[in-house]
Amino acid sequence: MTKNTPVAAAAQVKLEQESRNATKAMLLEFWYYFSQNKGAVLGLAVFVLLVLVAVFAPLVAPHDPDVQYRDSFLVPPVWLEGGKAAFLLGTDAVGRDILSRLIFGARFSLFIGIVVVTIALVGGIVIGLVAGYMRGFVDTFIMRVMDIILAFPSLLLALVLVAILGPGLMNAMIAIAIVLQPHFVRLTRAAVLAERSRDYVVAAKVAGAGHFRLMFKTILPNCLAPLIVQATLSFSNAILDAAALGFLGMGAQPPTPEWGTMLAEAREFILRAWWVVTFPGLAILITVLAINLVGDGLRDALDPKLKRS
Amino acid sequence: MPLLEIRNLKVEFETAKGAFKALDGVDYTVDAGEVLSIVGESGSGKSVAMLAVMGLLPDTATITADVMEFEGRDLRTLSSRERRKVIGKDISMIFQEPIASLNPCFTIGFQLAETLKIHTDLNSAARKARVLELMRAVGIPDPEGRVSAYPHQMSGGQCQRVMIAMAIACSPKLLIADEPTTALDVTIQKQILDLLVQLQQESGMGLIMITHDMGVVAETADRVIVQYKGRKMEESDVLSLFENPQHAYTKALLSALPENATGDRLPTVSDFADAGGF
């Protein structure tokens, strides 16, 4: 083969350079379309802020989230009568600063989102690739299993799974990841089915690519767009579902400052101390909203039909 | 009095990159019983003028003209309601993609009858009869059977016949055909063109044929307007155009026909651009 001649080596270098430039151009074009959507950019900014707050929580939070101030039970937010400057958003029933708990809670929410999406994405991609590529009995079996999972309402299935595994944050995350799995599997499989008969795949096969290479290096990169959009959607769903499980007492357990768990603890005080209920929910809403804004922006930017060049 | 008279028509679209001039001061005149062909390449704006007459342009379009009259009525000042009484009845239009131009959820009989329902006061039985009559007039075989068919069950040629039937349903004074044969097979193209010419001659209506195909122009037109990038390049009767083209662009178009390919290289429009100054 001509691999080692200087001419071939120079051509190889040029090819890699062009490939890098092409990738850079693609990313720049993507950013151009994404940034046109002001909501998406705002969502991204909020999300980045959230990540920073979560990472630097010990520095940002005014108090420790678990410390109970015995003399300050159910203190209102600072702008209301009876509020204290030390507790900007007030305290909960056992005297813990709500703002600090919210800040530390951000860690849990982001952690949940990342773990769940990673598991669901990786699992979903692998299973979907296998199903779409293999077809036949394997495909049918996998899709029936996915149908079974989808036959149950997601929250119910997650609840049942947590009941089996035992309440707790880790189990809640696993349960939610399993419940979100089918969406990724179906997406990947659909994309694989659409792509596998395309000419470039046939060409790669003829050139001698093996199964793994075909699946992961040839087909997968072309299926990424809908998967990315689904990943952001699942990120926000994961946060909502984990909060729901926490609210029902099956997720993160007290005294963990997870936002849903905080809402569960606060429920009996809704008429007496509305701030204990309002702020954790607001935190969930803002986080999920930011992610959904980014997701919408991603979908618009990645959808080839909408390309306006 | 001409059937349709347009003077100095300008159409601008608002786009993300600023205003785009689709039409820059074009005149059109059509008399009753006349076939006018508007010919040009894609992007010349040939459809835009007719869409403006029909009121089918989006809100981002700004339409200005010195004169825009149909049978002496000023189209610019018509209210939406008044315009809807004219469109589909006195002026009708058929489009390029026949199957896509029909609603996939309703039968063709239903869609044909709808035109009659809106513009005439025929009762249900009379409408039904007229629909069958129209289908026969446009050459659809077995009208009684086809009347309850859906667009996706018919071929492109048949769907275009349905579109033509819809367009002539209320005996229009002017029919606008926007590239009616471009999406069809060559053999079907001839049938549709012959049908259009036949209907035009039988009813004496005006026909505007928008096309990029000089062959279609030769087959059907009485007069021709040659358009390029929103401006009129030449206007003359069809025989003079082919025998003695005046404008450089017309010469370029005619030279670019495959029939005129003599020698090694097929001429392109841009070959003539410098000389013609367009």
């Binding site: 309402p153 609840l159 | 009845k89 035109t115």
Partner: protein
Amino acid sequence: MINAGAFVYSTGDHPAVSWQDPPVRHIRTHDMFRILFSRLGLLIPTFFGVTLVAFSFIRLLPGDPLDLLAGERGIDPERKAQLMAQMGFDRPLWEQYLDYLLNIFQGDLGTSFASKKPVLDEFLTLFPATAELALCAIIIAVCLGIPAGIFAAVKRGSVADQAIMGTALVGYSMPIFWWGLLLIILFSGILQWTPVSGRISLMFFFPQVTGFMLIDSLLSGEKGAFLSAVRHLILPSVVLATIPLAVIARQTRSAMLEVLGEDYVRTARAKGLPPFRVIGFHALRNALIPVITTIGLQVGVLLAGAILTETIFSWPGIGKWLVDSISRRDYFVVQGGLLLIAGIIMLVNLIVDLLYGLINPRIRHN
């Protein structure tokens, strides 16, 4: 599970009906049965899979099933051996599964420990409450969501469009259990317009004819009963409707936008049809096709949401029943509940599939 493709029909004559009417009459029952049977073919293995999941539930729980069922009091070994034989826990798993299946087909889903009543009976008693809630929610979602979506599509890019879509986005980013609590604070706590829990004020007592409080209160003829039922129903319905409303609005808008750019809409305008007919009839008819599928899928969302909504509003439906049973370790209830709910969802999906085949002529004729 909504897989609306690959139905093959023979082209045949259409029956002689009035073709001027919209096309619903053209369906041949033969076609619909064909869809039904092909969907059932897929559903049957799924259903058995679901029964397997429900069956495995108790057996997957950590610990011995009988110890779990006995709870904290514990159980003495003799009695345990007796119960094991009685309940069939000592037999091979596949035999137990077959027994379980046989019982299902006879309508025996076990007995609740909390209420000592058969699971199926309790389900049927409580289901109307959830059904009433879900129906109200879906009606609200459809009646508000579709018009909102149409309006946003027609006025694309305007302030109204952005406002509607922004609201929809907030709607489905919201944790609905929090939303419900907020509304309780506002409407029940501060304004005192609505009650906090239950289906009807405690002072009313009348026989349950249909199980639907709205209907029963009207039938009872008691003064103020219907109004009380409405006041109890409105807040939970709104909360439950929030996510489907947002999803339907967004989906309608995107479907409408796609349809409004199609050639046949231009043809409809070129025919001189009034805008209301162009949009509301020609465009909407096509746009509704994907939206119907979405509405069908929302049933699963509604049932999941019902779990949370019923918990917050103490609404005596199956959502609350299931959650309480999980906490109470009332496992037969959970097992039966899983099966029944999954069954309902599969049934609804089947109906949606059939409906999709009905309204989309291209699928009908392939």
